[in-house]
Symmetry: C2
Subunit: 482 residues, 2 copies
């Protein structure tokens, strides 16, 4: 039932999108000069409290206006009875009032000249209340205002220190943008990215997508110098959105890599997605084909999506296919080799000359073939020398460096050395990924690597899979640029 009513709403909204499409007000979603929080609250635990607090405590530099007819002051700021009373322009208005009041405050926001309305409030089409959502769009259209939501947790953009969400406030800044159709998953993943030290440029909760959709947001982020890769959790597109999504994403992927996790790829999963966000799921093969056509990288799990994003975030796009694996453990070397074949990563067959050079970097019982096995006797110096050879050799485009915890080589020392070598050879434009296996100190070493621009993974397979995603993207770009 939700699907049917959705179709109706979407058809309606799609008509109006034509007018809104070129709207520059999307920028106000990321770099508003001023924000009104309509429904700001003095009571901890309330969403209107948390959002205002996050905005204030995360260092946002613009003006902030709490709107609450029952309060004079909130968090030391003067509170206004209505957005209309604010004696200044308002770029972004965040709406957290109960659903029955949303249309009224939207109308006021429109009158006020608000550029973008961020409607946190739920209780719209996701529970069958289609009428109100339709009206919300009508109001927005009338005033040339854009709407994010409803039924979302907000938006964050770290380059502007903007955290207009009710999620955690200590987001780590970085070049990965994350657009999510699922609110609960998105907000949970905010916390997860903090723990995993994944650097985020933007997080956008899409919710019911009554107006602003992933394409609008991706277009902005594709031109955003603070974003290097766009990740999207998608459950489904709605009628009328499909063609636009592919056409526009084609343009976007020529600027930046886009990784999508399309949930609801199984039959049962699609049904679950339909009842969750009301998406018209459509056949999964159609999505797969469309993504491929648009140059979108499709991840199958959240972990995979962020694994790949980490690589794109920090490393240059590969310039060729030829990959070398350097390891101190035969076992992880074999696992990486399996993963390379599985993911279509071409392992270079070193020339005699190159083998000779690698031979000089290792004990006599090592192997200069690919994987280059420095053996369990390897110390920092062996790795540094082998990496130097790899960076210098014209036979090699991409580097996978693996490490198994041994008693004689502290992974933290190795991490620092890898960072130095990589820095020295930055001009070579050779992507490098690391796969480290071990306990606490190895985990620490991976943090050091990740903080310093070397994507590091707790298994050889994940390192290789992430490089594979970059190579796949390179192939698409090269084909299109011909």
């Amino acid at each position: 039932m939700y699907i049917e009513v959705y179709v109706e709403v979407r058809a309606h909204i799609y008509m109006s999108r034509v007018m809104l499409m070129a709207d520059p007000n999307i920028e106000a979603l990321f770099r508003p000069r001023s924000i009104a929080v309509i429904g700001a609250s003095r009571h901890p635990g309330k969403i209107g409290y948390t959002i205002l607090k996050n905005i204030l405590e995360c260092g946002y530099k613009g003006k902030v206006y709490p709107v609450n007819p029952k309060a004079d002051q909130i968090m030391g700021l003067k509170a206004y009875k209505s957005v209309l009373e604010i004696p200044d322009e308002v770029d972004m208005a965040i709406v957290v009032v109960p659903e029955p009041l949303v249309l009224k405050v939207a109308e006021e926001a429109g009158k006020k000249g608000v550029k973008v309305l961020v409607v946190i409030t739920s209780g719209f089409s996701e529970v069958g209340n289609v009428e109100a959502e339709k009206k919300l769009v009508e109001i927005a259209r009338k005033y040339g205002m854009r709407v994010l939501g409803p039924n979302i947790f907000g938006v964050a953009y770290t380059p502007a220190n903007l955290n207009a969400t009710f999620g955690p406030k200590d987001l780590r800044a970085g070049p990965i943008a994350f657009i999510t159709q699922s609110g609960a998953l998105g907000i949970a993943l905010m916390g997860w990215t903090i723990m995993e030290e994944i650097g985020i440029s933007a997080i956008v909760s899409m919710g019911n997508m009554c107006d602003i959709d992933p394409v609008d947001v991706s277009h902005y982020l594709a031109d955003d110098p603070n974003t290097r890769v766009i990740t999207i959790y998608l459950e489904g597109l709605k009628p009328g959105q499909g063609r636009r999504f592919i056409t526009e994403m084609k343009k976007i992927t020529m600027k930046k890599p886009v990784i999508v996790i399309k949930a609801g790829r199984s039959k049962r999963g699609a049904q679950a997605a339909a009842s969750h966000t009301g998406s018209l799921a459509g056949s999964d093969q159609i999505y797969s084909a469309a993504f491929k056509q648009a140059g979108i990288l499709r991840a199958l799990t959240v972990e995979e999506m962020f694994d790949w994003a980490r690589a794109f975030a920090e490393q240059p796009i590969p310039r060729g296919e030829k990959t070398i694996i350097i390891t101190n453990g035969g076992g992880v070397g074999v696992l990486a080799t399996d993963a390379a074949e599985e993911h279509g990563v071409e392992l270079v067959v070193p020339s005699g000359k190159l083998k000779e050079e690698f031979r000089k970097t290792m004990p006599w019982f090592g192997s200069p073939k690919n994987p280059v096995d420095l053996t369990g006797q390897a110390v920092v110096d062996n790795y540094v020398k082998a990496l130097e050879v790899a960076y210098e050799s014209p036979e090699i485009d991409n580097i996978v460096v693996l490490y198994c915890r041994t008693a004689i080589l502290d992974p933290r020392d190795l991490a620092k050395a890898i960072i130095e070598v990589a820095k020295k050879h930055k001009d070579k434009q050779k992507p490098i990924v690391a796969g480290f296996v071990g306990g606490y100190d190895t985990y620490e070493a991976m943090k050091i690597l990740n903080r310093n621009g070397i994507p590091a993974y707790p298994s050889p397979e994940r390192a290789v899979a992430s490089l594979a995603a970059m190579i796949k993207y390179m192939r698409y770009r090269k084909k299109k640029e011909k």
Copy 2:
């Protein structure tokens, strides 16, 4: 070249195995009453130092005899010039002397009546020194002694507080046995299991497998009450080992689940494995078919192997196929549904009556279908009630409980509640797995769950995949038991 010489050695050794096969001395590998460390050292950094230290500091209760002709005392223990001088029986002798001395000390150990020789020393067939390895086996055979190794990091068995390895010493005790053909990977994973709080019964480094092989060890562990699941990192079997491996593993998997990661499954990977451990890799399809026939579960990554092992370690084997997903987030519910279809997990379609019961556990806008969506408004009470329904319903065999971090439900409170409900319904014999998404406190909650017998994973997909492995094992057992 390594392969060829290996074939020769193996053929030779296989003949001798017939005599050794029924040898009860394997028990001395896990529960030795006394241990001699031949090549024990007073110098930190030496392997002969670390192994002795690990044995002493991990609480081993038997007698320990350092053997070192140049020392009177090591770590407060009297040192002996030769194992022959020890005034007591010696069950296990650990050999860490340089390769040229190994045969001599092996001969002495044989004379002494040592039951099992653990040869840490490398420099044997793995580097082409086939003759010495052949002689080592001849000596062992002459005295009825078994040999683990050479070229290994040792053996650990937590129920006897035995850690005769040069790996980390703070292994976490638990019911997962781990047998590894790769030394470097194995020792790195020791550290990893500690960090991940994976409970280990035994870790056995196989090395060159000149005598004792994974079958010998698995037979012992299959009857070991402290082991519930056997995991094996395998690079390849050698000529003559294949048939025995399948025949014997068939018996073992009727007692306990066996999970194998067979590295070298790609063409290049097989070559790498061959030059690493000298394994005759063989076609990967042959391995796959053989594993299937023997009821072995094949994992593709190390993470996957231990994910599954964690489930087997703590939960009962499923009694049926019908699985329910309980969640507070639609998104993770969809991802879990996709994973269920992918892994062949049957999601139950709840009857009208069951839906009614689930309906009572959630807000009005929740969904009593499968996934059961308690919504982002869910608190502990909603989960407890829904879990009660799931445990009580005869329509349900298996439970997947998912959680997305929300502001209103602390994951640690939820963890404790899940543990209580699961304990209460232990007699129902319904396996439960958890998939939690969030930041630090969610991570903590997962630790609480894992420590209390509920396998918890940081993604819905990994939780479902682990349950799927259990269901697969159940199907095999049911088919065979008919």
